[in-house]
Amino acid sequence: QQQVRQSSQSLTVWEGETAILNCSYENSAFDYFPWYQQFPGEGPALLIAIRSVSDKKEDGRFTIFFNKREKNLSLHIKDSQPGDSATYFCAASGASGGNYKPTFGKGTSLVVHP
């Protein structure tokens, strides 16, 4: 049973468009949702994160929209650049018996064409 689902394995957009990456989860105990960005040959790195008490988190061109009732969230990348081409992982963690270890989705590979 996959607890964190990313709806698209891959996504292609043109430079300047807004890329939207979707994620959903099943465990109501999850309350922290980070997105990690991974470039080829490197490890993932934290990009942006949101707590479940918020419905939006913005950092430059990157915005997370969060819907607690629907148990889903999305990462919007405004004005996409070729340098944004990477794999994006949605993750979730929460206070389940004091165990906060994060659970990752399978990732979405984003390609931004110039």
Binding site: Q6, Q9, D31, Y32, P34, Y36, G41, E42, G43, P44, A45, L46, A49, R51, F89, S93, G94, A95, Y100, K101, P102, T103, F104, G105, K106, G107
Partner: protein
């Protein structure tokens, strides 16, 4: 800047052989994690640790052992390597030990078991 270093970067092993993957962190983080990354599966947690001397099973621990001899070092051990363990392995340290934990990943070890 947080630093997680994995060695080796690449490893070729024979079926039935013993393989040890090493990870060193200079962040002084209590939590450390071992993940494997495979196409179509994303990041899957193998073992993790809350501090020196502790190891815990993750979601896919079968065929793997872990060792945390010190705050800085966390090893993943394959006693009898099999071709199904061919993968890219990532080590990470966690900065919070709580629901807002950020993970800092190493660059990965590409393991091929022939």
């Amino acid at each position: 800047e947080a630093a997680v270093t994995q060695s080796p970067r690449n490893k070729v092993a024979v079926t039935g052989g013993k393989v040890t993957l090493s990870c060193n962190q200079t962040n002084n983080h209590n939590n450390m994690y071992w993940y494997r990354q495979d196409t179509g599966h994303g990041l899957r947690l193998i073992h993790y640790s809350y501090g020196a001397g502790s190891t815990e099973k993750g979601d896919i621990p079968d065929g793997y052992k872990a060792s945390r001899p010190s705050q800085e070092n966390f090893s993943l051990i394959l006693e009898l390597a099999t071709p199904s363990q061919t993968s890219v392995y990532f080590c990470a340290s966690g900065d919070a030990g709580g629901p807002n934990e950020r993970l800092f990943f190493g660059h990965g070890t590409k393991l091929s078991v022939l």
